[in-house]
């Protein structure tokens, strides 16, 4: 049997993983929504470019993404330096950096899901809402958003799951500092790097899977509720 008593460091990693995944999911939601909306409905010159950019983290090996993050968001990176000076937001070697990496890695998944459901929303309903006096943004809030809730939830869960599994970009960007940036995934990875670490890896893997499955089930329930309300199920 597998020993399920965890060391304090492992507990920390679990908490951190959850925190990172939740924050990554939550903070990437608004921009993902915006980008998905732009891609689904917008007609502007740089659309293909934006679309490509969004998919980059998927296309690139995570190490490269991590490297890119380091160049941009590191202490000396243009964005990182700016953020540190202006709002005091530091990513390097912080759990915030892990969250950023996870968010970026999950971003294409979230955008795709949301975009698909926005595209599936019946625009005639939006027209109807407009004739009832709702301005475009309010139409979006009151009609489009609730109707694409299932896709939104799907996107969030993909992002969460990805965040739980992601370590390539994370470890490259913010290293593997216990208590700060060592997530479950990087802890698991460490175990796989030493002979005889399989049991430990398996143990943590089970935890990670259990956490993610719970989130998955929760989201399925929510999505089903949402879908039932709009009559799709």
């Amino acid at each position: 049997m597998i020993d399920l008593s965890f060391s304090p460091a492992e507990w920390t990693a679990m908490r951190l993983s959850l925190k990172v995944a939740l924050v990554a999911m939550a903070t990437s939601l608004p921009p993902a929504l915006l980008v998905a909306l732009a891609l689904a409905r917008g007609r502007f010159p740089g659309k293909a470019l934006l679309n490509g950019l969004v998919h980059l983290p998927l296309i690139l090996p995570p190490v490269v993404t991590g490297y890119g993050l380091l160049l941009l968001f590191g202490r000396r990176g243009p964005i990182g330096a700016f953020l540190e000076q202006s709002v005091g937001l530091v990513f390097s070697f912080r759990w915030t950096g892990a969250a950023l990496a996870a968010a970026i890695m999950g971003f294409p998944l979230m955008v795709r899901s949301i975009r698909l459901s926005i595209e599936a929303v019946d625009q005639r309903l939006e027209e109807a809402a407009g004739t009832l006096g709702a301005a475009p943004f309010l139409v979006f809030l009151s009609i489009t958003l609730p109707l694409c809730l299932p896709g939104l939830i799907a996107g969030m869960i993909l992002s969460f799951a990805k965040a739980m599994g992601e370590f390539g970009a994370t470890i490259t960007f913010v290293s593997n500092i216990p208590g700060e940036t060592q997530t479950l995934a990087s802890a698991i990875y460490s175990f796989t790097q030493v002979p005889g670490g399989d049991a430990g890896a398996l143990r943590l893997t089970l935890v990670s899977v259990a956490l993610s499955l719970a989130a998955l089930m929760l989201s399925e329930g929510l999505a089903r509720l949402a879908a039932r309300r709009i009559g799709a199920a």
Partner: protein, 359 residues
């Protein structure tokens, strides 16, 4: 308030090119399937922008393509009842109905809400989701939703088509009242001549994307286009009159068409002195050579035959002229015409049953 509409645009292979205006009250858009009625409504609502067009309501310009002006749909404040109900699936019936009032300054009162709900018979549906509503229920909610958004103009696309006669008979008077009591112009698409002649002050006939006739309901629905184009049971005339200030001796409501011409009507509750429109279908007019005694028809009008048009199914359209400019159309069989030896210029009596008068 007057709505002026000029549109020119392509719809696939059809060219839509209309120019009409609609005043206070109800203006009916009338025309065959595919004529372009819905397209006109969409343009007025701002849901499509025509290639070329000018739309004004009162002094306000809503669309002027020449100057690149187009007011967004939500700023037009026009209530629309779509041909398909378009209820919001994620909101309950109540929330669907209340939707418009969130976005409008002019809130509808609780009493108005209750009144419209009761009128449309959707009280029991208020907490339901739209998903499983029946076709007619859905359409009624859609009507209510548009009415409750406090619109400056109502655009209604066959709102009653999915309803049974009884329900229609309940809602029509309400629309009449809306027309009479508020100053909201209503643009009304319908296939029912009876509905249109009853509601509409003005009729715009559309065919194949073009206005083929427009004017006061009385003229247009009796006019040449209807006379020659419409099928059998749609032909007839629409007359304007005034409810007699005093009921006549037997307590029957009468409509004064002119100083001496009266038609007696089987309908109660009409306000003395108010103006009404009566539709007299050609099929409901019987002709007699001289006044007839001992017959249930209450109306017998002396008329002169102006013209005789042989029509389909061995029938004959008889165009009649009477006193004070009164015009009628009678449809009889050719056999009868022959038996009565009808000819142009002949004097006859037009017999019309009171109960047959479309109101």
């Amino acid at each position: 308030m007057s709505l002026d509409v000029r549109l020119k645009t392509r719809l696939g292979t059809v060219v839509l090119d209309v120019d009409f205006s609609a005043g206070d009250g109800v203006t009916a858009l009338f025309g065959p399937s595919g004529a372009g009625k819905t397209s006109v409504l969409r343009a007025i609502a701002g849901l499509t922008t025509p290639r070329d067009g000018l739309i004004r309501l009162g002094g306000e310009t809503l669309l002027d393509t020449a100057h690149g002006l187009s007011v967004a749909p939500h700023r037009r404040g026009f209530g629309v009842v779509f041909q398909e109900a378009r209820l919001f699936p994620h909101l309950s019936v109540r929330r669907n109905l209340r939707f418009g009032s969130f976005f409008n300054k002019a809130k509808t009162t609780r009493a108005e809400f209750d009144h419209i709900v009761a009128l449309l018979g959707i009280g029991p549906l208020l907490s339901r989701a739209p998903r499983h509503l029946s076709g007619g229920e859905r359409q009624r909610v859609a009507i209510g939703r548009a009415l409750l958004s406090a619109p400056r103009l109502l655009l209604m696309d066959e709102p009653l088509a999915a309803l049974d006669e009884a329900r229609r008979a309940e809602i029509l008077p309400y629309l009449e009242r809306l027309r009479d009591e508020t100053r909201i112009p209503i643009l009304y698409v319908s296939h029912s001549v009876a509905e249109v002649s009853r509601l509409a002050d003005k009729v715009v006939l559309i065919d194949n994307g073009h206005v083929v006739g427009a004017g006061p309901a009385a003229e247009t629905l009796s006019g040449a286009s209807l006379l020659h184009g419409a099928p059998l049971r749609e032909r007839g005339v629409v007359l304007e009159g005034r409810i007699a200030t005093a009921q006549d001796e037997e307590g029957v409501t009468a409509v004064e068409l002119g100083p001496t011409t009266r038609l007696r009507l089987a309908q109660e509750g009409l306000l003395p002195g108010s103006r009404v429109r009566l539709r007299i279908a050609a099929r409901d007019v019987m002709l007699a050579l001289k006044p007839v005694e001992g017959i249930s028809a209450l109306n017998s009008l002396p008329m002169r035959i102006v013209a005789l048009h042989p029509r389909e199914n061995r029938t004959m359209d008889v165009v009649l002229a009477g006193q004070e400019g009164l015009q009628l159309l009678a449809q009889i069989t050719r056999v009868s015409a022959k038996a009565l030896a009808l000819s142009e210029g002949m004097e006859v009596q037009a017999l019309i049953k009171s109960v047959a008068l479309d109101r």
